[in-house]
Amino acid sequence: MEILLAILTGLLFAVGVYLILRRSIIKFIIGIIFLSNATNLLVFLSAGLVSGKPVFVPGGEIAMQADPLPQALVLTAIVIGFGIVVFTIALKYKFFKTTGTDDLDQLQQTDK
């Protein structure tokens, strides 16, 4: 199972990197979503998977329990990710309304 999830994480990273290298802003944002999900999976996997075991059992063996911390971290990271994606999409919408372009190559005004 861990091998599968590791491959999936790698795949998600690859897709994300490919998308953020595209010229369109909306594809860039989708790429960021992919990367953020890949990162969340990475954090989740980092403590190792324990299948079918509860987190806290009074009197239970410690080695048999799943580590609750990465799950809490991932939960927080997902929420933060949501907030940021919502903001980026709103920014992109506003930008599209004022300039009418989705092409990253047109973004040269502030670098001149």
Binding site: V43, L45, A47, I84, L91, F95, T110
Partner: protein, 495 residues
Amino acid sequence: MNIIAFPIFFPFLLVIVMIMVRSVKLAKCLAIAGSAINIIGILLIFQQVSKNDILVLNMGGWPAPYAITLVADYLSSLMLLVTAIIVFSISVYAYNFIQEDDGNSKFYVFFFSLLMGVNGAFITGDVFNLYVWFEVMLLSSFVLITLGKRKEQLEGGIKYMALNLIASLLFLAGLGLLYGKTGTLNMAHLAQILKDDQQAILINTSAMLFFIAFGIKAAVFPVFFWLPSSYHTANITITSLFAGLLTKVGVYALIRFFTLFFIQDSDFWHTLLLIIAGFTMIIGGMAASAHYETRRILSYHIISQIGYMIMGLGIFTPLAIAGAIYFTVHNMIAKTNTFLIAGVINKMKGTYYLKNIGGLFKESPMLAILFIIPAFALAGIPPLSGFFAKFMLIKAGFEDEHYFVTSVAIFTGILTLYSVIKIWNEAFLKKHPDETKVHDKFKPGFIDILPSIILGLGSIGLGVFAKYFFEITSAAAEQLLNPDFYINNILNTVK
């Protein structure tokens, strides 16, 4: 001990108040009063830290490695204090410079949530908590940089957002790998585990992810491009706030991480830091010399001066770390000040382009004096603060035989002096170009230059009382280079 939570909860309280306040005038006065109280609270923390050397608070009442730990040592409390002073002077400055189209009282909501994020990042002792504070800071800064909704602001906002989001993701990935290897995210606990760790190669993966993430935040050499293309688009009040605080949080995180627990493979890391520092200094300095727009010149200055701080970290002797901290404090004060004065000049002349400005020395000698103080401090002219900061770094560099990077630092000092003198000649000494007309004469009032007076006195004070301040930064450097003190104080505070 509970006073350590003040720098987080007080700005949070102000955020709630600012959401409810409708009257703009009231919001402006409340902001000034609030940031004044913030200074007092942080002075209390600073005084406690200088008495006890370190303050520790475990949130939620759990013992140390499980709780989220808040720690204030010399470095943290020093950064908190400088932040508080800068935030106070900017809230005074905002009184006249934040206009209707900049969102007025909405500005203050995000102003104080940014302060909360910055304070939280300085004071936390937990890696994941640091990530959360970075995100608080990041989201507030996204909103602030796009607040006027002008076209170039949205464009700058997208560029700023893009690289900083990638930095956050790398930070999170590094954090996940670090947790996988050590099973903890408490900084002191990490330091204790990694101290005897021989598997440097395995730790280097996450160290590199952290380095790139903080490097993007701090705008170091290959990844600084977001800064000069976004900072100059926002309202000048917001630009000066960012210039003073944001990149320095990245530098703070680098100093904290690479003195506390990423110390296994020091040959590799210190060489890398010095190479990056050299490039950052020289490229920032050269780009600053090439530009003719005040805000862009100053933005590239930020980058070149980040290089000095990284150089101090790369040399890694007590004097060099103390010099890096000294430089960071000096730079935060002087940099904010130059941006504030650029804003006043813009209000008087209606432009930031040096070609269209002139004759300011005759028009307002007071402004000229206020500009020359931070400008010469940045260039490193004695007896102002920059001289002592650069002197410490360069002395440390020669003592530790890093001749090349130290020469680069000296050369960059000349470039900085050149571009500062360029602003001085063009804006103040040159006659006002005839073809550009100024529509409405704006005379800077006392409240417009009061922030510059406060910060200018700060620059002079850091230079004149350099001995006293050197002792504080040396104490901070000593704490950083002997992490055992930090570790023992946090892990043994189980009550």
